[in-house]
């Protein structure tokens, strides 16, 4: 009450006085990459698939800023074109996870009862599964298809987020405004999505970005194990795997995509962090 409220206020204000630049920077980076994903193939100096076997792997030059890989393909162009699959699939995973976890989590947390009970048992089960291991077995044994990888990943990421959303929802539904909404006789869906959702949005957004990052890293990891995309697809993860053998001839062929993955992931995480701060204070 008196005093303590005030202190809370102060602490929060202190936290909020974090610099915006980080947000801008990471946001900008992601925007750039998204642009590359959309228009990369147009701006690319070469056709990412065009080979020059005679040329082979070369160090960066004026003709090829990031050099070429073993098949004489232009690394820069491939990186640009690679943005698409490198970002698209994680995005799909993130959105899928987010959609599932949010709706299910809200449902479980708001309705409680048997729905909640059943759902939580399933979630506990899934969470206790050795995720990465299942993923590799699943995708590996069923024959490496990116579709499987993405689906499996979404399924593996969802339960954790469901738990979070659920607990948040349970906390929110007890708050006065939610009860007031109920006494007003508003419909469940309206209360869930119009009233509760906006208040747990920060966590949801942050969660989505986190699963985006996780998917980004995990998928590039699968490519590293030779699971997932077919050879030759311009994709950062796959490029790392295909070109890590070239570290003496043209290290950039592996380093650049590796850097891109890292940067993308970092930017997304940062953005998640910052957005969370902002949204939860606004």
């Amino acid at each position: 009450m008196p005093g303590t409220v005030r202190l809370g206020g102060r602490a929060r204000r202190l936290r909020r006085s974090r610099p915006g630049p980080v947000t801008l920077l990471s946001g900008g980076i992601l925007a750039l990459m998204a642009a590359a994903a959309l228009f990369g193939t147009w701006v690319a100096p070469y056709d990412p698939a065009a080979q020059d076997l005679a040329l082979g792997a070369t160090m960066p030059s004026w003709a090829h800023w990031a050099g070429t890989d073993e098949l004489g393909r232009d690394v820069l162009s491939r990186c640009l074109a690679g943005a698409r699959s490198a970002l698209l699939w994680p995005l799909v995973v993130a959105l899928g996870t987010c959609a599932m976890s949010t709706s299910l989590g809200l449902l479980a947390g708001y309705r409680r009862g048997w729905i909640d009970a059943v759902m939580m048992r399933v979630v506990d089960l899934l969470i206790a599964m050795p995720g990465l291991l299942m993923l590799i077995v699943l995708v590996g044994v069923l024959g490496g298809g990116i579709g499987w990888a993405v689906l499996a990943m979404a399924v593996l990421f969802t339960p954790g987020d469901i738990r979070v959303v659920r607990s948040l929802t349970m906390a929110q539904r007890e708050l006065a405004y939610a009860e007031a909404a109920r006494t007003l006789g508003l419909s469940r869906t309206r209360i869930m999505f119009r009233h509760l959702l906006p208040n747990i949005a920060p966590t949801v957004v942050a969660g989505a970005l986190l699963s985006f990052v996780a998917a980004l890293v995990a998928l590039s990891g699968l490519s590293f194990l030779g699971i997932g995309l077919p050879a030759g697809t311009p994709d950062w993860g796959l490029m790392i795997e295909e070109n890590r053998g070239l570290l003496d001839l043209n290290p950039w062929a592996a380093v650049v995509p590796a850097a891109l993955v890292t940067i993308a992931a970092t930017a997304a995480t940062l953005l998640g962090d910052q957005l969370f701060e902002r949204l939860s204070d606004a």
Binding site: L132, L133, A258
Partner: protein, 315 residues
């Protein structure tokens, strides 16, 4: 006590489900075991028949599963299709490497993560905090294998400080051999711990009982150990445990990049070779580890937190 019994029961149930899932999955996946058994050469009809009979490949799935389960509970997970060795000894051969790697990584993770997180929390908002938080984020984002290759070329080849590959024989060798892989493995996890520790410490700093303790002039040692440490222990412990579990699977990227013959590497090749008994056993082992860790964490809560002990709150 009942609590533990309940957890144990749940654990067993989980393992059961896991085993059924994987068994069915593997059995239904394209490709027949006999191909693996006979090797990729033209094989005579007789030998194929013999193999199918010997491995009961023509029995219906439930029967085969039941048979497998029957042996499994007696600790016999069958023989590897690829090397006719018994699965248990195949895994036993590989386990030390992975266990060593995972353990080493955990030690590094905690040794680096906890202090870093604590410092960051205590200096919240300072450049140091920013630095730690940021590098934690980056570390979180670097794909483990990218890290491995980086280290491999940086320290092992260019600088030549560490051996390039293999797990070494003597303990000392082990340590030097596993240093780089452990670092590669620990990087991402340390980041997690840093974030967790920082959050926990920040949360703690806001607690009234911390202020009250200082206001009563509670001794320094008492303040840090009796209060700070004990109250942050549980969340951090939880993360630590889960990391250890994640380690055993996460290790496979690193093992592959460093040519370590550990369990992870075994899994990847077994999946490639469709060595079903091995894969099955490994998945189960992975599940078992996760379950065991969770169980241990519950017990830890039981030990540390009176509220759990008295069933006031659920762990």
């Amino acid at each position: 006590m009942a609590f533990v019994a309940r957890r144990l029961a749940a654990a067993l149930l989980l393992l059961g489900v896991l085993s059924v899932l994987t068994y069915a999955l593997l059995a239904l996946a394209p490709g027949d075991p006999e191909q693996v058994l006979l090797g990729p050469r033209p094989s005579t009809a007789e030998s194929r028949a013999a193999v199918r009979a010997q491995y009961h490949l023509d029995d219906p799935l439930p029967v085969r599963y039941a048979a497998w389960l029957g042996d499994a509970v007696r600790g016999d997970f069958g023989a590897s299709l690829y090397s006719r060795e018994s699965v248990t000894s195949v895994i036993a051969d590989r386990l030390p490497v992975t266990a060593g790697l995972a353990g080493y990584a955990i030690v590094l993770t905690l040794a680096v993560g906890l202090p870093a997180g604590l410092v960051a929390a205590m200096r919240r908002g300072s450049p140091l905090d920013r630095g730690i938080t940021l590098s934690a984020l980056v570390a979180l984002a670097i794909p483990p294998f990218a890290m491995s290759i980086l280290l491999l070329y940086g320290f092992a080849v260019t600088l030549g400080w560490f051996p390039v590959f293999g797990a070494g024989e003597t303990f000392a060798e082990r340590v030097t051999h596993l240093t780089l892989p452990a670092i590669a493995l620990a990087t991402g996890q340390a980041a997690v711990v840093v974030r967790q520790m920082r959050a926990a410490a920040l949360d703690l700093a806001g607690q009234d009982y911390m202020t009250f303790a200082r206001a009563r002039g509670v001794g320094r040692a008492r303040y840090w150990f009796g209060y700070a440490l004990r109250n942050t222990a549980l969340p951090v412990l939880t993360v630590g445990g889960l990391l250890l579990a994640a380690n055993l699977t996460g290790a496979l990227f690193v093992e592959r990049a460093f040519g370590l013959h550990g369990v992870g590497e075994l899994l990847v090749s077994a999946v490639g070779q469709k060595d079903l008994p091995v894969v099955q056993a490994l998945v189960l082992m992975g599940g078992a580890v996760v379950v065991a860790v969770n169980l241990l964490i519950d017990l830890a809560y039981l030990a540390v937190d009176p509220r759990v002990r008295h069933g006031a709150v659920a762990a």
